[in-house]
């Protein structure tokens, strides 16, 4: 066959794909997907370790009861059906029949009960299962979760890396699951891929599990996660074809460059449930001016959000007006967005009683930032606030623990921060605003020391409202009040992007990005 003829064929094939849409393409079996991981996971068991580094390989090793499509609709996975009781106080899961762990033993309702208990006891996100009082196991394939109050967040908490089904006969042997040796080697999972190798700081090799409970899947033979901590090296690896895929990439300069590469597809789809937000947090409990909400509002009016979105983020991230990610169905777009208005800012500051002094300054504040990538925002804040007479000094970033200790013990005025929603507001949003969660020494608790009984009441209602429409209303109100009180000033989503080679089919573009099962992912040709 001549080269010319080949390319003609290719062109025809391409034409037919365009004509029939992407569905016309049949997934192919086989191949090794080379994926990058930006951090070394502590271990591979998501039941006792949250975070994206464990989550990516963890969701391949372990299956959850449910999975989600791009529209936030739950889909059957290890559970073929899931039903609420009428009072919303119990959830019945019917497991897929014939599913087995990687050691060949059957996956039963006992394992589900054990997994729920393990997550309940060890996972940092206590709000996921704290209302589960017991898990009943009437038969091998039926698990009934009993709740002390209705808990709509349960569905999301049973997906992705949040509820991995782990074998009771392995992890229930009496050792502490958090430091169980089989979290890093000889992992016995329930997912589409099993562990072949885990070389710390180097790579994780997963192999297809041939007896996976979905017939014919996964398509790939192997997934190799290469641990590459340097963002520029990852970008070069993608560009020269050494890597097929990278997720959670946030370096805008690299992303902008890779967008021009014709062998790569760059997208920000897939991060709606992870819900990463950038915001400027205020220590509302401090004695200073920040305890006055007019001052916080004035600060928001003085910062040109468009500059952050267009110049700092180079148009790669989205406007976020509230504490709920704009990709969430619960997002309320109809709140005050604090567009740049220096007159209003000056008026608010005057009204709050902070007149300009002889030197033109009203008062001084400090600003920190919790991530080297938000340095530009911190410096921009200083420049912006100088215009309204607030003198800001920027504390430079040393490393994470230094920052965390300072912020979590409330020794700050303002800080830029990056916080994830983790699917449902109950899991990742309430913690920032709940007056019960002001806990010195705990980072990403309510470090703003924000107290508003109305907000507390709304969160309590939202947590147990089963009717989706009513729930949406409750959270709309919640976001409206917060946008008025402004304990933090939300600016944008993190510019997280998934970058993949044109050879990759069915990339993980659902709501959980690389924390989704890769049983559908395949390599073309």
């Amino acid at each position: 066959m001549t080269k010319h003829f080949k390319s003609m064929l290719a062109a025809t094939a391409l034409g037919s794909i365009i004509a029939f849409g992407a569905q016309a393409e049949e997934p192919v079996r086989g191949g090794t997907l080379i994926h990058s991981l930006p951090q070394n996971p502590r271990h591979l068991n998501p039941a006792v370790q949250s975070g994206i580094a464990t989550g990516a390989p963890g969701t391949q090793l372990f299956a959850a009861p449910l999975r989600y499509d791009e529209d936030w609709t739950p889909q059957p996975y290890l559970a073929e059906s899931w039903d609420w009781s009428d009072d919303g106080l119990s959830m019945t899961l019917k497991l897929v029949k014939g599913a087995t762990f990687h050691d060949g033993k059957p996956i039963t309702s006992e394992d589900v009960a054990f997994s729920v208990k393990t997550v309940q006891e060890n996972h940092p996100f206590k709000s996921m299962f704290d209302v589960v009082t017991s898990v009943e196991t009437p038969d091998e394939n039926t698990a009934v979760l009993k709740l002390s109050q209705p808990h709509p967040a349960l569905l999301l908490a049973m997906s992705s890396q949040l509820l991995p089904i782990i074998p009771k006969h392995v992890y229930g042997d009496g050792q502490d699951v958090k430091s169980h040796p089989q979290n890093s080697e000889n992992v016995v999972g329930s997912g589409p891929f099993k562990l072949a190798e885990f070389n710390r700081d180097q790579n994780i090799v997963l192999e297809r599990y041939d007896d996976f409970f979905i017939e014919g899947r996964p398509y790939l033979d192997k997934i190799v996660y290469r641990i590459i901590k340097d963002a520029s090296s990852r970008a070069i690896g993608l560009e020269n074809g050494e890597l097929h895929m990278a997720t959670f990439e946030a370096t805008v300069r690299n992303i902008a460059r890779m967008k021009k590469n014709e062998n790569l597809i760059v997208t920000d789809e897939g991060y709606a449930a992870v819900g990463p937000l950038n915001w400027l947090a205020f220590n509302t409990g401090s004695e200073g001016p920040l305890s006055d909400k007019r001052v916080r509002q004035a600060i928001a009016y003085s910062i040109d959000k468009q500059f952050i979105l267009k110049a700092i983020m180079q148009g790669l991230s989205t406007d976020a007006k509230t504490g709920i990610h704009p990709g969430s169905p619960l997002y309320n777009d109809d709140v005050n967005s604090y567009d740049l208005d220096l007159d209003k800012a000056n008026a608010l500051l005057d009204e709050a009683g902070f007149e300009r002094g002889a030197d033109g300054n009203r008062f001084s504040l400090t600003i920190d930032y919790g991530n080297p990538t938000t340095k530009a925002q911190a410096e921009f804040t200083k420049a912006s606030l100088a215009k309204v007479g607030i003198d800001v000094s920027v504390n430079s970033y040393v490393d994470f623990p230094t920052w965390a200790q300072k912020i979590s013990n409330h020794n700050f005025d303002m800080t830029w921060d990056t916080v994830f929603n983790w699917g449902d507001p109950v899991i990742g949003v309430h913690r920032t605003y709940s007056s019960d969660n002001i806990k010195p020494g705990v980072i990403w608790s309510n470090t703003q020391q924000y107290v508003n009984p109305e907000i507390d009441a709304l969160m309590e209602q939202g947590a147990k409202e089963i009717d989706p429409a009513k729930r949406k209303e409750i959270y709309a109100k919640f976001q409206e009040i917060l946008a008025e009180d402004l304990p933090v000033y939300w600016t944008n989503t993190l510019p997280y992007h998934t970058i993949y080679s044109t050879k990759v089919g069915n990339p993980p573009l659902g709501i959980w990005a690389s924390g989704s099962p890769y049983d559908l992912v395949y390599l073309k040709e």
Partner: protein, 325 residues
């Protein structure tokens, strides 16, 4: 006999030094703000108060400082470097897992830099006013002045991206299968860029120093005598001058070798080389105290052994040193 006394004396100093290193490092780590509980919370995307307390208790961070210090020193003296809660593995396992990669990288880079550096130095000392001399000086200064990070990334862009000759990261390609030879070639292939990056700093040092040292020696009386005797230029340089010009270079090489880890941190990070440098960096940022202290302890050992060996080598090549204890 004198040599054994020297070694014995050195070993005694070494033991005292190691204890000082332990106490000092432990104290410094304790002064750093934040702790492992914060970084574990970070790797989790959050944590609750109970969990933070539990982690602090498991690490003994809730104990008063003198108790922690005493516990640690006595543990190390019984040859137990402790357990890394962050990596979920014993520290000794971690160090020995990472050591071969670092040794390989540093030894190859050092040896190449030493040989090439001395050759360049000798060459430019013999032609102190030629164009080639300026060229060598330029390379040396560039290698010394350019930040390792920058050199590394630049090499990656040039030889991984624009001209894809070498892989971007890691030490081996997991998809390469074959016998030992095939795998060795694969590792060597991965090593080229990191070795050049790391070697460029050493090269600069060695070539500058050996040039200066050589120039000094070439101007000395016995070289003039040798010339007067009618020896060829080649014989003078190789037999007489070089041997006398080497001691400073050997001393420097010994010192540099001791700095195995500090030199490797940046290079290992840029090239994702799975060595001790990366481990050190990660555990410092994670406040993983047992691992950091383990690495520092181990580095102190390397420095002490390195200095001892340097002394012995110097004795071998320079008779003047032998007289002194």
């Amino acid at each position: 006999m004198a040599i054994f006394m020297t070694i014995l004396q050195r070993l005694l100093y070494a033991a005292l030094l190691l204890i000082a290193v332990l106490v000092l490092n432990f104290t410094m780590m304790n002064l750093a703000p934040g702790d492992i509980a914060d970084t574990i919370a970070a790797s989790m995307g959050g944590a609750d108060a109970e969990m933070m307390e539990q982690i602090r208790a498991e690490y003994g961070l809730d104990q008063p400082f003198p108790v922690q210090l005493l516990a640690y020193v006595s543990r190390v003296l019984s040859f137990d470097l402790g357990y890394s809660y962050f990596y979920n593995a014993p520290v000794t396992t971690l160090i020995f897992e990472k050591l071969p990669a670092t040794l390989l990288l540093v030894l190859v880079a050092q040896s190449l830099a030493l040989v090439v550096g001395v050759l360049l130095g000798v060459f430019s000392a013999r032609h102190p006013n030629g164009i080639a001399n300026y060229f060598v000086t330029l390379i040396a200064l560039f290698g010394y002045a350019a930040p390792v990070f920058w050199t590394g990334i630049l090499l990656l862009i040039a030889f991984s991206l624009k001209i894809p000759l070498f892989p971007v990261a890691g030490m081996s390609d997991i998809t390469v299968d074959g016998n030992f030879f095939v795998k060795a070639v694969d590792v060597a292939h991965h090593m080229v860029l990191p070795v050049i990056t790391l070697g460029s700093i050493f090269l600069a040092l060695y070539s500058r120093l050996s040039r200066a040292s050589m120039l000094e020696v070439l101007g000395s009386d016995y070289v003039r005598t040798a010339k007067a005797k009618g020896l060829s230029q080649r014989e003078i340089v190789l037999k007489h001058a070089l041997k006398n010009a080497l001691p400073p270079v050997v001393t420097l090489a010994g010192l540099q070798f001791s700095a195995v880890i500090s030199g490797a941190v940046l290079v290992e990070t840029v090239f994702s080389w799975p060595g001790l440098g990366q481990l050190a960096l990660t555990s410092i940022l994670a406040r993983d105290t047992p691992t950091i202290l383990g690495i520092l302890f181990f580095s102190a050992l390397v420095v002490i052994i390195g200095n001892l060996l340097t002394d012995l080598v110097l004795r071998a090549i320079d008779p003047r040193v032998r007289g002194r204890a």
